[in-house]
């Protein structure tokens, strides 16, 4: 949910331009997993700011709590214990919406205005327009949107669009005690990441790098990874996420063309009827049977 906005780049299921006179700076959140200590303060801050409360869960024998994203938990820390050439490593990743430049959720959504993308890059759900079909879940390459059992609407990280709109940083960024999460212009965040990567390489992480997958046009939530060559190690972060050919086919040019095809069937039928006339019983058979 967000403020009435004049800087909408894209709106789901909308074929005409959205209000977009105002151009805002492209922003990004950079998550440096190498600085993360797994304290979950970001999870708490997220719930605090957004006023969501998840059900109290149970211990699953791992640090992950809750175990997965839910309609109330828009971000969760995921902990992976991985054997690498450096020995046992504990890789912790803050999971949540990546705010793709080319958002699969927005593309898949059939409800006008239920998903919007602002010119600052934030992809937001407007739940009052959501019809609960879950197409966004099928469209998302990162498995992020969650359908609420309570109201059959989908929820996910808003990148604190309400805070960002008034010049504040997202709640998770504000609270992070180690500075692992930073926020600013996308350009600055990429520059900052580059500095971090140089530092990590000097410390022996030869494959350190930025996770900004180009298959979805880049993202507005990026990671600094110590093993950027193997993102899957971080609890299944996809190596080369894309919206996928099925979604492109489903939401591309095929449907307008098919609609045109249906209209042509109607026109063709009319033309046939008018030019060829109806298919009636012939006079000779009428006479023959009447006898």
């Amino acid at each position: 949910m967000a403020l009435q906005s004049l800087d909408i780049t894209r709106r789901s299921a909308t074929t005409t331009p959205s209000p977009s006179v105002r151009q805002t700076m492209e922003v990004a959140k950079l998550i440096d997993v190498t600085k993360c200590i797994g304290c979950k303060a970001c999870q708490v801050a997220c719930m605090e700011w957004n006023d969501t409360r998840d059900a109290v869960g149970t211990n699953h024998g791992v640090y992950d709590n809750p175990v997965d994203l839910t309609e109330n938990s828009w971000t969760v820390m995921r902990y992976a214990e991985v054997e690498t050439e450096r020995g046992l490593e504990w890789l912790i990743r803050k999971d949540g919406c990546m705010h793709c430049a080319d958002p699969g959720c927005l593309k898949a959504c059939p409800a006008p205005g239920a998903v919007v993308q602002f010119s600052n890059g934030i992809v937001d759900f407007h739940e009052e327009n959501c019809i609960g079909c879950g197409y966004c879940i099928a469209g998302c390459p990162f498995n992020i949107p969650r359908l609420s059992k309570k109201d059959s609407k989908v929820y996910k990280c808003t990148l604190c669009s309400d805070r960002v709109a008034v010049g504040l940083e997202p709640a998770c960024v504000k609270t992070c005690p180690t500075g692992a999460i930073v926020f600013g212009s996308r350009e600055d965040m990429i520059r900052h990441a580059e500095e971090r990567i140089v530092d990590l390489k000097s410390r022996g992480f030869a494959k350190a790098g930025l996770y900004d997958p180009q298959g979805v046009g880049g993202t507005h939530v990026m990671y600094v990874l110590h093993h950027a060559d193997r993102p899957e190690m971080y609890c299944g972060l996809p190596k080369d996420p894309t919206i996928g050919p099925a979604v492109d086919l489903w939401k591309g040019a095929a449907k307008p063309l098919a609609s045109l095809g249906l209209a042509l069937i109607g026109l063709g039928a009319l033309a046939h009827y008018v030019t060829k006339g109806p298919n009636e019983v012939s006079e000779e058979i009428e006479k023959e049977v009447d006898k």
Partner: protein, 210 residues
């Protein structure tokens, strides 16, 4: 309705009732399905009480369709078995469309085109039901991997369009072939109609060779 002892019985009352229930349900499904097909059709959701209601109702209409179309399938599957004569009939369908019936082989109770329509509809319906269950987010989608759900969405949309196209054709052919709508509404046809459109069937039920 006039009773005419000379008329020939073509469709029984249960067949007709089944057909029209399927027809009504088809319109409910097509109109509510188009809501999700393209933004252009989204306003159709108002016929069902809004987008959320269209989303809720569409799959339940579909479940009902499984039973009603299943009934049509059981009633007409034997009648719709394709014979070599039907294939020959289909080769002359273009001539028939131009009003030329000179070389048209004699059709039985159903002609080759009607049989082809039947099997096309059955194929689309199977695809729609299977893919529809896979993309039913409220109850079933969580059982399937996301790739399958994506493919299901494409198959559902494609089969849906083909289904609508087939039914548009079916409706037009019924309008074009005079008195055939009456046959499905009231169950009986004039002898001349039967002889003209379905000569082999006419001979079979009148027992004569005239």
């Amino acid at each position: 309705m006039k009773t005419d002892p000379d008329k020939l019985p073509r469709f029984t009352a249960p067949e007709r009732l089944n057909h029209w229930l399927v027809a009504v349900l088809f319109f409910l499904l097509a109109l509510s399905g188009l809501v999700f097909f393209h933004p252009f059709f989204y306003p159709l959701n108002q016929l069902f009480g809004g987008g959320t209601w269209a989303r809720i109702l569409h799959p339940f209409f579909g479940v009902l369709m499984i039973f009603l179309f299943g009934g049509m399938f059981l009633r007409f599957r034997k009648l719709s078995v394709m014979t070599p004569a039907d294939r020959e009939w289909l080769k002359h369908a273009r001539e028939l469309a131009s009003g030329d019936t000179r070389n048209l082989p004699e059709a039985g109770k159903l002609n080759g085109g009607q049989k082809l329509m039947f099997w096309s509809l059955v194929t689309c319906m199977v695809l729609l039901v299977v893919s529809g269950l896979i993309i039913w987010r409220a109850y079933l989608s969580f059982l399937f991997p996301v790739t399958l759900v994506r493919v299901g969405a494409v198959v559902h949309a494609a089969a849906g369009v083909i289904m609508v196209a087939l039914i548009l054709g079916h409706i037009y052919l019924a309008i074009w072939t005079k008195e055939s709508i009456g046959a499905m509404l009231y169950g009986k046809v004039r002898r001349a109609w039967a002889k003209h459109h379905h000569p082999a069937w006419y001979r079979e039920i009148t027992g004569g060779d005239k």
